[in-house]
């Protein structure tokens, strides 16, 4: 059962370039929320040795010297382009697993390697033409090998963007695996990488030839599965429907230091509004709320403080008002005066399906029903008239929210807002 993994090259940067052809061939980075860290790099930037995730202020000088163009992240655009890409790719197989914003697996059961190559090439060409996005395609008998093949398709020009693992002669395969560090294997992070190194497993080849049973005892069943997958035995199934998230969070850095409890409260309330609307969208309830605040650890000449509180609810809920109340409680407990706060966030914990909620012995069923109706109405109004049109007053008014994050150089929402359509000069 050949598995295809398709993912976009430098997805965020590529999305920006679709509407800004002048950025083609130039070094471009996309920065995280609040213009904090580098979250996407063009090939030109990678060639300069700039790592993923570095704080922008650390490379600002180098960027100026090299003429790097830095853009604020435009998630509205990326999400729309992602959705288009996934829909186009869903035409190539009835079994698709969308793995992240810019990659998906397709199951090509029953196709020979040669046919798979053709399908892979067509898919790649179509995404290029229809959306203007460059993608890499890896095809192999298992998901883990498809990931590796995809890596080769991107790194080695001779594959022209499509690498079919089974078309590589066995001797050559061995040679490739001997050169790849074990951390290139899907699911092996830095921690496991270190532990594997300690027992002499350095390359993917070493791991493939390790005995799966003792490795399972030493690490976990996941390790055994990885080894088997590397040997061509499919152990990780396709997941077509994303399981509901077990933890929902909403957090942002502030655009400027925030000092008062009023402003912090406004921010935390807004994050709760966002998180609980996500919660309802996946039809779940949460039984606990964790709130945290902290100062900026990079400014260590200023007094530092960070704190977090978890509030457990008497009953799992999806009612924004209950969480707002809990959030206020948490904040009053941990707030200290005299600090310049840089970030706050909320996590919804103990998430479960709304259908399986146990009735509260002391609960008022009628009030609960009314609460559900109120929340449903709120969601409907916001779905119809735009995000955050209607929300609890404690979250503050958009106009006066001066603490909101900076996105100094964000491109327009080209594909989702009439007011922000891309412009063509017709001169």
């Amino acid at each position: 059962m050949p598995i295809v993994l398709i993912d976009a090259n430098n997805f965020y940067v590529s999305c920006e370039r679709v509407f800004r052809p002048d950025l083609e061939g130039k070094p471009v980075v996309v920065l995280s929320n609040n213009d904090g860290c580098v979250v996407a790099r063009s090939a030109e930037v990678k060639a300069l040795g700039i790592a993923m995730g570095v704080p922008w202020f650390q490379i600002k000088k180098l960027a100026q010297k090299e003429g790097i163009i830095a853009l604020s992240s435009n998630y509205t655009l990326y999400a729309d382009m992602s959705q288009r890409m996934m829909t186009i790719l869903s035409d190539f197989s009835p079994i698709q697993e969308v793995y992240s914003i810019d990659e998906c697996f397709l199951d090509l059961q029953g196709f020979a390697p040669e046919q798979c190559r053709q399908i892979g090439q067509t898919a790649r060409q179509r995404i290029r033409q229809w959306l203007g996005l460059p993608v890499g395609v890896g095809i192999a008998p298992t998901k883990t090998l498809a990931k590796l093949a995809n890596h080769l398709a991107k790194k080695q020009p001779k594959y022209a963007g499509v690498c079919v693992w089974e078309e590589i002669p066995e001797q050559k395969q061995a040679k490739i695996l001997q050169q790849l560090p074990v951390t290139e294997v899907w699911g092996i992070g830095r921690q496991w990488g270190k532990r594997l190194q300690d027992i002499g497993i350095l390359t993917v080849w070493d791991l493939q030839n390790a005995d799966p049973r003792p490795m399972r005892q030493r690490f976990s069943i996941l390790m055994e599965r990885m080894i088997r997958e590397l040997r061509g035995e499919s152990c990780i199934a396709m997941e077509e429907v994303a399981p509901p998230k077990q933890e929902i969070q909403s957090s942002r850095s502030f655009g400027r230091p925030v000092k008062t409890i009023e402003e912090l409260g406004e921010a935390i309330s807004l994050y709760i509004v966002r998180a609980t609307s996500k919660l309802r969208r996946q039809n779940s309830v949460a039984a606990a709320l964790r709130v945290y605040i902290r100062t900026n650890p990079f400014q260590n000449h200023l007094p530092q403080y960070q704190a977090a509180r978890t509030v457990v609810l008497s009953q799992a809920s999806q009612d924004t008002r209950i969480f707002l109340h809990a959030g206020k409680l948490a904040l009053t407990q941990m707030y200290r005066e005299g600090f310049a706060y840089a970030k706050a966030g909320v996590h919804l914990l103990e998430i479960s399906s709304a259908q399986s909620v146990q009735a509260d012995l002391f609960g008022d069923m009628e009030a609960k029903k009314r609460a559900n109706q109120l929340m449903a109405t709120l969601d409907q109004i916001n779905a119809r008239f735009g995000r955050n049109v209607l929300q609890p007053g404690v979250a503050g008014l958009q106009e006066t929210r001066s603490w909101e994050m900076k996105r100094g150089n964000k491109s327009p929402a080209y594909t989702t807002q009439w007011k922000e359509l891309a412009r063509v000069k017709v001169e």
Partner: protein, 157 residues
Amino acid sequence: MHNPTNVFPSGTNRELTATAPQALRGSFRRTFFPLMISRIAAGFPSPADDYVEKQIDLNTHLIQHKEATFILRVSGWSMRDVGIFDGDEIIVDRAITPSDGKIVVAAINGELTVKRLRRVGESVHLLAENPDFPVIVLKEGEELCIWGVVTRVLHSV
């Protein structure tokens, strides 16, 4: 007499013959079913029920390939004579292969512009549709990047 083409013995349900294989997903994802507008009543049904059709949907009328279609806003007058005016919105379908005579969005010197694509012998010309603007003739070795094919203009009157 024995009929060799009939694999089913007489009397079995002919409806069960296999149909042609069909893509599981494709361009048929959205289907509209007309609704009957009148309530079921004991009296006469509405004489209009037989004439109910689906409502006009501008999306299906204007957009052929949903995923490959983008809307851009025009600024400038060089395509005036084909009815593309300053401030208009154009619908651009990237799934259509650009060919001679089509109006296209092209990236020239890093900027998006609209022109009519013309093949003249071996060379490619990009024509404005307004005599005040020059023809762009692509020289050999110059790379032309066609962004998409313009299919419609949205112009408010």
